[in-house]
């Protein structure tokens, strides 16, 4: 026993929990790495795209002769040229059996459906020659009426795809009464209308653009036995499978490599027309082909995110105890149903009830086709929308009851004694402690002092008003239990794969199917494996992103890498230990039962005899002396399918100052206390939280993709699409509480999306809180100074009181219009703003 204790004292500090600097940063920051666009192959050709300027038009003629005759042009492809081979880009998640899904050609054949759609492709010997020849492709269009406004499109006034006869793609419904997870919501609302409280609100989730740092790029080399595809993607494995399935090429003959990828935020969770086209061009021409998009192409034609109208009806007792929540969504798919497509808003279906104990819940989501860029996953995917809506309306409930918005939350949330808790949406939350996170956050924030200051500013009619915004959120992440995905009609599973390979010198190679694009997997996985196998951090090499190396995987999105992919790594490492143990026992001439594994060493209990993992690895490699029937390998695989989602939660508090003279919103203080279970690397977590916060704050204050009334994206550069920089944010105060997850070995929960999910409502709640005394109860996102100013001053300009006194407001058009100052759909806003 003493021996063991001594060893424990001298054992290296556990890697998990250490703020290791990221292994990958040196090469990423210095640029000494390989991005897809860096790849140069002999004889490589370059692609450039001819894109439609019209949102909806028939292609009447394409004259490619001049382009073909342009110097160094090898080929010009049109949709007609590839109509028979291009198939359609896949939608992996038909959310209902009768979903209306237009065929999605990679090159438009006879009709374009959004401004930016590809109509022809020039292949040339240099990128410049290809770009030059794009100018020479002459396309004639017959313009068609375009379905642009989401609400109008939902009424089928103008059809995005006339042949389909409707813009309505699918209606997806969850009802707690039907599901047996709760009671009927309509009854709850009816009951509340008589003596209780009914709050009805409509919120706008503006259209956003993922705006990852590295524009998308794809290289396809068809010259070998296998076609090799390098691409800036989050999903090399899914891409390989789908390319094979759609393009009819043997999967075994396709190798997909995602080299270092510069960010994704869901924007690279896609199989793109550009990838399909590069693949087709390379196959046709027999030469390597490359396509790299420009930033403007990226903003216009890489998929967008969000774009929903959210109608909520919340019922409560007179004292503010919630009794029901009904959600009616309109979700803009854009002109095609993308890879996840309607699945994105559906991912929010289980989260509107959030941390609150609603007895009755109903969620209705109507997805709608329009003639705009197609939408798909964007950081948080469905859950930010849900969190925004519920956190906004809880503030409205508090205002209605006349209590502090924190009090209304405390009154309704799940208490820590109640875990595990089965929600009204049917999910089992494994762990959490909302009280603890909130208490910590309030203390860090100085909640009471800020409330006092707010009172004082209101009393003194200070031109700068203070607002406090709360977001007590949870999310479901770690996508996802395959059984649940199956039940939701998703086209694949949610497992993850890993391999651990012991090299003869004692070094370790970890293969993960979770393909990182900036998250720091190499560092975190190394920490986990170092602890598990007792080897130095530096001795672990993490390999990923190449289907020939990490041959199996489900890739990276939905805050799944650590909780699913990391768990697979642990399981594979544990198998290595089990295999090594047998060999160690043989070499030590001891019984397996007498061995204990600690600090990377198998020791014989009660003795000082033992062998280090590296020694066993070498012995296994030599294979001179293995037990009978034991194979000469320690290498192990594991495929992990989570039994449950992971439910990080937290309390975010935001204070803003609003200059009532200009409407400008300035962040004063932001506190984020996140409970993400056990933390593997605090530095990486801090980075994820900060980045997520900024992204969510950006939705609240700055970013919006706006189309004009012709369907042109007018925020198509960073001049008008306002991605914030460090200069626009403040220092965040972050901290953690820890309720370890009970559904994985380390007790981890996902963190990739938490900041982005939580922060948006915190900021908007703060904005509204600052000016609620002016009669304001909503400001549409992004809360621009102009919108805030108008909201404050709408009454002096003879506008209606936004919140009808006494009774809770109910839906009627004039009321809705009044309530959200400047509230309009993107297209309409543009027209309106420009008079």
């Amino acid at each position: 026993m003493t021996v063991t204790e001594d060893r424990a004292e001298t054992a290296p500090k556990a890697e998990v929990g250490q703020a290791r600097r990221r292994k990958e940063d040196q090469r990423l920051i210095t640029g000494r790495t390989k991005w897809t666009d860096n790849i140069q192959l002999p004889g490589m050709l370059h692609l450039a795209m001819v894109r439609s300027p019209f949102a909806h038009a028939r292609i009447t003629n394409i004259d490619v002769e001049a382009a073909k005759a342009s110097p160094n042009v090898v080929s010009v492809l049109t949709g007609a040229d590839v109509a028979d081979e291009q198939g359609g880009l896949p939608n992996a998640w038909p959310i209902t059996p009768d979903q209306v899904t237009p065929n999605h050609p990679s090159i438009a054949v006879d009709r374009v459906t959004f401004a930016g759609e590809i109509v022809a492709v020039v292949v040339a010997r240099s990128a410049a020659a290809a770009r030059d020849a794009v100018e020479l492709v002459d396309v004639d269009y017959e313009e068609l009426p375009a379905a642009l406004d989401l609400k109008e499109a939902a009424e089928d006034k103008v059809l995005a795809h006339p042949d389909l006869g409707t813009n309505k793609s699918a209606l997806w419904v969850f009802d707690s009464e039907t599901a047996g997870s709760g009671s009927g919501v309509d009854a709850a609302i009816e009951a509340a209308r008589d003596g209780g409280i009914v709050i009805e609100r409509e919120y706008r989730q503006q259209r956003l653009i993922p705006a990852f740092m590295e524009p998308r790029s794809c290289v396809v080399d068809p010259t070998g036995d296998q076609i090799v595809v390098w691409t800036a993607t989050q999903i090399p494995h899914i891409l390989r499978f789908l390319m094979a399935a759609v393009l009819g090429y043997p999967e075994s003959k396709i190798r997909v490599i995602a080299p270092d990828v510069g960010g994704g935020f869901g924007g690279k969770l896609q199989t793109t027309p550009e990838e399909w086209i590069t693949f087709m061009a390379a196959r046709r021409l027999g030469k390597p082909c490359k396509y790299t998009e420009s930033r403007s192409e990226s903003l216009i034609a890489a998929h967008h995110g969000r774009d929903q109208w959210q109608k909520l009806t919340l019922s409560a007792e007179k004292d503010g105890t919630v009794t029901g929540l009904k959600v009616e969504l309109l979700a803009d798919l854009g002109s095609y149903v993308a890879l996840m497509g309607g699945g994105v808003p559906v991912l929010g279906a289980f989260m509107y009830n959030s941390i609150y104990k609603f007895p009755a819940y109903q969620f209705n989501c109507q997805t709608v086709l329009t003639n705009k860029t197609w939408t798909d996953a964007y950081r948080g995917a469905g859950r930010p929308e849900a969190t925004f809506a519920i956190e906004r309306i809880m503030d409205e409930l508090a205002a209605e009851v006349g209590v502090d918005p924190m009090a209304i939350r405390e009154q309704n949330w799940i208490t820590h004694e109640e875990f595990p808790f089965t929600s009204v949406a049917g999910l089992e939350y494994d762990s959490g402690n909302y009280e603890a996170a909130t208490e910590k956050a309030k203390k860090m924030f100085g909640y009471d002092a800020l409330r006092a200051e707010q009172e004082q500013r209101r009393a003194s009619e200070d031109p700068v008003q203070l607002g406090i915004g709360i977001s007590t959120f949870t999310e479901m992440c770690g996508l996802a239990p395959s059984r649940i995905l199956g039940a939701l009609d998703y086209g694949a599973g949610g497992w993850e794969h890993a391999s651990v390979r012991m090299l003869p010198t004692g070094k370790v190679e970890v293969l993960t199917g979770s393909s990182a694009h900036g998250q720091g997997h190499e560092t975190a996985w190394s920490q986990i494996v170092a602890d598990r196998l007792g080897v130095p951090f530096e001795d672990v090499e993490v390999l990923h992103g190449d289907t020939q190396i990490a041959h199996k995987g489900m890739d990276t999105y939905g805050s799944r890498s650590l909780v699913v992919g990391g768990e697979a790594v642990i399981k594979a490492a544990d198998k290595v230990i089990e295999k090594a143990k047998v060999i160690a026992a043989h070499l030590l001439e001891a019984s397996v039962d007498d061995l204990e594994f600690s600090g990377g060493r198998f020791g014989v209990k009660g003795t000082d005899q033992g062998l280090a993992m590296a020694e066993i690895a070498l012995a296994t490699f030599a294979a001179h002396n293995l037990p009978d029937g034991v194979e000469a390998s320690l290498d192990s695989d594991a495929t992990f399918d989570p039994v449950s989602f992971s439910y990080p939660h937290g309390t975010h508090l935001c204070a803003v100052e609003i200059d009532t003279e200009t409407g400008a919103v300035a962040m004063r203080k932001y506190v984020a206390v996140d409970d993400i279970g056990t933390i593997v690397n605090p530095l990486i977590v801090e980075g994820q939280v900060h980045g997520g916060l900024v992204q969510g704050i950006a939705q609240a204050l700055w970013e919006e993709a706006v189309h004009d009334d012709a369907g042109t994206l007018v925020s198509a550069s960073f001049v008008d699409y306002l991605v914030p920089t460090a200069a626009d944010t403040i220092s965040f105060d972050t901290a953690h509480t820890t309720s370890p997850s009970t559904t994985n070995t380390l007790g981890t929960k996902g963190v990739g999306e938490a900041g982005c999910i939580a922060s948006t409502p915190a900021v908007v709640n703060a904005v509204v809180d600052a000016i609620r005394h002016f009669g304001v109860n909503d400001v549409q996102m992004p809360c621009t100074p102009a919108r805030v100013y108008k909201a404050i001053h709408q009454q002096d300009q003879g506008g209606e009181t936004p919140t009808p006194g006494g009774a809770a407001p109910h839906f009627d058009e004039a009321d809705v219009a009044d309530r959200s100052a400047g509230a309009t759909d993107g297209a309409a806003a543009q027209a309106g703003d420009h008079q």
Binding site: D132, T662, L701, P724, T725, A727, P785, A786, Q835
Partner: protein, 284 residues
């Protein structure tokens, strides 16, 4: 984002540049830092056959004292203007504005003259130049001429310069001892101003003796808020007095409407920002 093919020359003297410009004619474009031109070329919204880079003309770089004025060479980078002691002493308003131009990268590549010749109504330097009665020295085939700031800005992206002319330097009358402030209103730091106000005042014993107020992005050119200037003279540098004077800031303006706000909102902003700029300039 690949520009169309073009020829490039980098003359060492103004004379050589003028000759190149004459030869290039309509298909030539002057590059004075390239912070606006190159993006446009890369987007192929322009495809000049010849780019004449003034970056090698040393004579166009630097700030010098010229008696009652300071002279800023057209090719002086913003970053250099921002740190120049002569500018700080005699044209504080220029310094206050130039540090607000775009972002640090742009301020190191972009030039003072280039930005002014570009004549973007949302550019940060037009209003201060106008407010301080700058003179633009323009070289052409027939020698040089000086254009008053009031005549220089003609319309959106349009100046009084001919296509064959080159802006060589900007003379700014000394405003030594004047207080100055540039109040720029943006949503994110690197944005063009939604509205900005450039104010310089000479305060004498608590009274505003002279005032200059220029407006950015309130019309198709930078504008002078003369009514405000007149209303300020002789008034105490107090919030009340300045507030009253600033109410006319938007008079006669014709601001644009865009994603950041409509014209009415901009008019309102102009009055608020003018008050703030003047008060800050007056040290009040």
């Amino acid at each position: 984002m690949i520009a169309a093919q073009f020829d490039y020359v980098a003359p060492a003297t103004v004379e050589e540049a003028l000759a190149a410009l004459a030869e290039g004619g309509d298909e030539a474009k002057i590059m004075a830092g390239g912070q606006s031109l190159l993006p446009v070329m890369r987007m192929r919204l322009n495809a000049p056959e010849l780019v004449i880079d003034l970056g090698k003309i040393e004579a166009l770089r630097g700030v010098r004292d010229d008696g009652d004025a300071i002279v800023i060479g057209a090719m002086t980078p913003h970053s250099q203007v921002a740190t120049d002691p002569l500018v700080a002493e005699h044209a504080l308003l220029v310094r206050r504005a130039v540090v607000e131009v775009a972002d640090p990268q742009v301020r190191h590549r972009g030039t003072f003259g280039g930005a002014l010749a570009h004549a973007d109504p949302a550019g940060d330097l037009g209003a201060p130049a106008l407010a301080l009665n700058a003179q633009f020295v323009v070289a052409g085939a027939h020698g040089t001429r000086a254009v008053e700031a009031a005549d220089f800005f003609v319309d959106l992206f349009t100046t009084a310069m001919e296509d064959t002319e080159i802006l060589t330097e900007v003379r700014i009358p000394k405003h030594t001892g004047w207080g100055a402030h540039y109040e720029k209103f943006v949503r994110v730091a690197h944005q063009w101003p939604i509205v900005a106000v450039a104010a310089a005042v000479r305060v004498d014993g608590g009274t505003i003796a002279e005032a200059r107020v220029g407006l950015t992005n309130m019309g198709s050119t930078p504008l002078r808020a003369r009514a405000v200037e007149e209303a300020l003279v002789g008034k105490p540098a107090t919030d009340e007095a300045v507030r009253a004077a600033a109410t006319s800031a938007a008079d006669g303006t014709n601001p644009p409407s865009d994603l950041n706000g409509d014209a009415d909102y901009r008019r309102h902003l102009a009055t608020v920002l003018t008050r703030r700029a003047v008060l800050a300039a007056a040290g009040a």
